[in-house]
Symmetry: C3
Subunit: 222 residues, 3 copies
């Protein structure tokens, strides 16, 4: 692994917390669920990416499931978001920021775990990307939105860049914990710039925008 286990675990738990807040706030704001639905959606968003990663690596049972700390952080994040929903919504576009934080942290920790378990360069980058986008994709499917990974140009791309910034240096023999922070930081920056300026790739001519992304809701729903 390109980073000390302690650092990787801390970042993984931080990403879990960010995605739990994001999923729970999505439930509060976009779908208007009650407390059980809020916590459940927060936990699925927070744990889904890591479970997909571990299933694809054959590392079963998944760490995010067998390790109590992930469950506590995911459930706690959902509860915090339910209790503080009104305050969190006063912050500038918190849903999108929490999602971007989880995306960035899971991209680097997912790639690092894949490397540690012996996956190749390409597979490790792909696994980091899947870890990053997996939880949000489950969230979007469950609340019946076209997943962000399909509708937004700059969602899978920054995750792959972040994962590559962990994997490639490690393979070149110059890896180290610093690349985890570089990868997460670059991923976060690209994602937030994309969200802020609503950068999307051109759609085929004559096509309408996807139905679930009306103008003005992009920031809040991504």
């Amino acid at each position: 692994m390109t980073t000390a286990s302690g650092t990787a675990l801390a970042l993984d738990l931080a990403g879990t917390f960010a995605f739990a807040l994001n999923g729970a706030l999505t439930a509060v704001r976009a779908v208007r669920l009650d407390i059980v639905g809020v916590v459940v959606l927060g936990m699925i968003t927070a744990l889904g990416g890591g479970i997909l990663r571990d299933v694809l690596l054959g590392a079963l049972p998944p760490a995010t499931f067998s390790d109590w700390r992930y469950l506590v952080v995911a459930g706690g994040g959902g509860l915090v978001a339910f209790v503080l929903a009104r305050q969190l919504e006063r912050l500038a576009m918190p849903i999108t920021v929490f999602d971007a934080l989880g995306l960035s942290l899971f991209a680097v920790t997912g790639a690092g775990k894949a490397l540690a378990l012996g996956a190749g360069v390409g597979q490790s980058i792909l696994l980091g990307t899947i870890t990053a986008v997996g939880g949000g994709t489950l969230r979007d499917v469950l609340v019946r939105r076209v997943p962000t990974v399909l509708s937004s140009e700059l969602y899978a791309i920054p995750a792959a860049v972040g994962a590559a910034l962990v994997v490639v240096p490690a393979r070149l023999g110059v890896g180290g914990p610093v690349w985890v922070f570089v990868g997460a930081g670059v991923c976060l920056a690209i994602r937030l710039v994309g969200v802020r300026f609503r950068i999307d790739a051109p759609h085929p001519p004559g096509s309408a925008a996807p139905e679930d992304r009306p103008p003005g809701q992009t920031l809040g729903q991504d």
Copy 2:
């Protein structure tokens, strides 16, 4: 395991049959699918929870897949529901009752299997809950409804209570087959009371009810 294997298998197959009826009737009534769609949705509803459980436990291939009896019961349940759809609909809210039966039985058998494979107390309760709500969640996603586990307060909660009534006595050294029936019964009672009186947690003020649960359809669609 807190119960003899024979009892656990019988209850697991009974839950599989109940969920197969529920999924198939959902296909007949709510989505108006033809016979293939009816049987497929019945089988996915019946087998989905057990497959999720076994993937999360790393017990692959899943028992519900490698054991013929589950496949026969699931497929047979779907066919029975297709043939007897009209008669079954004359009963009082059969879809909801079959769903509640499957929920209750899978909560206790899922928790029992997790315990038997060495999972901890918290994980076993969570796995029982996932086993119970998993098939219905796949069903709802496939027919494009917000999953009941998100939209109904009393769906994950009774499943967790039922699972806990198996797991906690076993850990305290007073486990036994009787707790399987107590757990399933308590889960079923809570769920049916919730459905009957339409108990839902308060939603955030100013919010509309979820769009797919118009008044009057709650019983039939949960």
Copy 3:
């Protein structure tokens, strides 16, 4: 296995390519996604069935994930479809044909792999069917359509027939590579005839057609 490994791999990669084209064209035409969404949906459609198969077999990590060739073919197919979308659309109903090709090839290769790993007759046929319909089902869920496997009579059935034409001869001791081509050919023929003549099973009386399959869009959306 009932066929030489080389043949099975070639057919598996051909099916992967066909599903990648199908998924990517679905993204271009039906949902109007940009290039990232197009390639991602193509890859999920192409790799989803094989991943489900390998998870259910406990053959982890999945071959479609650990073997570079699948990833390159899936990603390449998605890119080809994006670049040539206009030309491909001029062909007669290309989306449906690519889907039928992938369905047929995955039915026989999925069944063959299940047999090779020791699964029984029934399980191998079911696994071939799941491999065949899995990627398209994920595709439909992600773009929010009722899955074809539920809404079309002749989707799971031809896949099961194709898989059975590989599995049954092998168990009778008369298996061989020829059955792979027979199975895939029969599956393809049934599926295309069903699509061409819009053969669907009768729906229950008084029911409306599923909302997402308006007349005239059947060919393009299946």
